[in-house]
Amino acid sequence: MWAYVINLAVLISINAILAVTLNFILGYAGIFSIAHALFFGVGAYTATFVAMKFGAGFLTATAAGMALAALISLALALPALRVRGEYFVAASLGLQMLAITIFTEWKSVTGGIGGLTNIPAAKFFGFELSQPGHYLILSLICLGLVLLIMRALVRSSFGRSLKAIRDDETAAWAYGKNVAVIKTTAVVVSSALAAVAGSLYAFYLSFINVESFVLETSIQLMAMVIIGGTATLVGPLIGTVLILLLPAALSYLPYLPVTEIGSIQQIAYGLAMVLLMIYRPGGLWGFQETPKSREGGSP
């Protein structure tokens, strides 16, 4: 039972890192990227490669993953962010599909469809993380650090610039904001931090393959952010917990055939999204834009 709970907690922490970093661009900057799983994958494959090839420890492997994710996101963001919203969605979709092909076909690095097995345990200042509990602590520390960085950024001048661009790009330009540079920086920061989740994931499972980094993952991350509440720090955490606990909760329901849980889960997501967008468009934790609050300021 404990093993099950710890496993779930580690996976929730890792996904929470992804959701929080996605929210940084989606919620605060209004950049709808469906390529977030790609940077999760880049982090995982790079960390694995560096660890298996050079025996690197957790910090070095993670740093390598972050650096490569940052570079790739820069290559995506520079051309794609010159155009407006919906084009970025299309560009990021294209990149996500491209990445899946590379993850599948570049067999010497990614192991192809079969993936990479026997990834060595993470080393941390000479200490080898061999127990699931170790990984839970490490994941929680990483999540905590990511949250602190996000909190500092969204409360800073940079966070205000992001929100200004999200609310009105034309006005942001007119007030001297270099929108393209600010958006690109946000995407690079978000992608580099998403790679941390990839590194944790690879070391924890000691096995990775392309299935963890596909389009469905990107969309599920988006669902976590939107259901939890965009542009809040707590919202994506709530969304992550809900979405990852839902299958677990469903499996405890009596009379449900185990084979049907997957499709019931999909129906539940869909229903939850629709109801949420009707009744709480800001997400569970987000501010509620009720008619009352709209009238609140009237004389």
Binding site: L153, S156, S157, F158, R160, S161, K163, A164, R166, D167, D168, T170, A171, A172, W173, A174, Y175, G176, K177, N178, V179, V181, I182, T185, V189, A231, S293, R294, G296, G297, S298, P299
Partner: protein, 252 residues
């Protein structure tokens, strides 16, 4: 009425065509420091397009735009903004989901990188600028309200607070007084007069001729993309030919 000081902004022979429609047609136009110039003319005269050409939101097909003698052509509009040309929009374009204070603070923060340069001293200076903009527009008490939740007049004043905090030397205001009640209008007028006294130069697009008369040091009259006349308010407003155009009795 003052005729103004040095030439801040000079547009020479600018033209802009949208799919065959001449929105701005060979307009030569000067904004002098320290006065309020009003752009008047019927709807579709090209007033907002002229603003867009001056701020770099649009690039003229022909002609030249100079700021303090330096050409603005080819500069991205965020750089033009940093030179000291600020604007408001007809539809305000506030940062709706940000608080009043954030709206004003963010325009003082020009650095695109993850932090602002200049340390504590520069931060204090930005803070002081934001605070004085809030004080001048009477929005200090509503600093924590979201822009979208404000009443109409307060939204208008927030757009002014934003341009004030930005430190712009030239304010291009697109119909800033429309929809203001008498009291708010008086406050608006005295705010503008105060700022002009402090060295700000203002160019306003305005439809209401009473307001135009009350506010302008100079008037530029546009119709169908052309600058028909420019001069002091008395001359322009008493010209029967211009009045006929303005009120739709176009002379044939």
């Amino acid at each position: 009425m003052s005729q103004g000081g040095e030439i801040l902004l000079q547009a020479t022979g600018v033209a802009k065509t949208f799919g065959g429609l001449k929105a701005v047609d060979d307009v030569t136009f000067t904004l002098r420091a320290g006065i309020i110039t009003t752009l008047v003319g019927p709807n579709g005269a090209g007033k907002t397009t002229l603003f867009n050409l001056m701020t770099g939101h649009l690039v003229p097909d022909r002609g030249e735009v100079n700021w303090l003698g330096r050409s603005l052509l080819g500069l991205p509009h965020w750089q033009i903004a940093r030179l000291g040309i600020g604007r408001t929009f007809q539809d305000l374009k506030l940062f709706n989901n940000m608080t009043v204070e954030e709206n004003v603070t963010t325009v003082t923060e020009r650095n695109s990188w993850l932090w602002q340069s200049g340390g504590a001293g520069a931060k204090g200076e930005r803070r002081a600028r934001a605070e004085s903009a809030l004080a001048a527009t009477g929005l200090g008490g509503k600093r924590n309200a979201r822009a979208i939740d404000l009443a109409y007049a307060d939204r208008k004043f927030l757009s002014l607070a934003r341009i004030l905090a930005s430190g712009a030397r030239l304010w291009l205001l697109d119909e800033p007084a429309s929809g203001l009640d008498r009291g708010s209008y008086e406050r608006f007028l005295s705010l503008l007069r105060d700022q002009v006294r402090l060295g700000v130069t203002i160019c306003i697009i305005e439809h209401n001729l009473d307001i135009v008369q009350g506010i302008s040091d100079r008037i530029a009259f546009l119709d169908q993309g052309r600058l028909l006349a420019e001069g002091d308010p008395k001359t322009i407003l008493s010209d029967p030919a211009l009045a006929a155009i303005y009120f739709g009795e176009r002379a044939s």
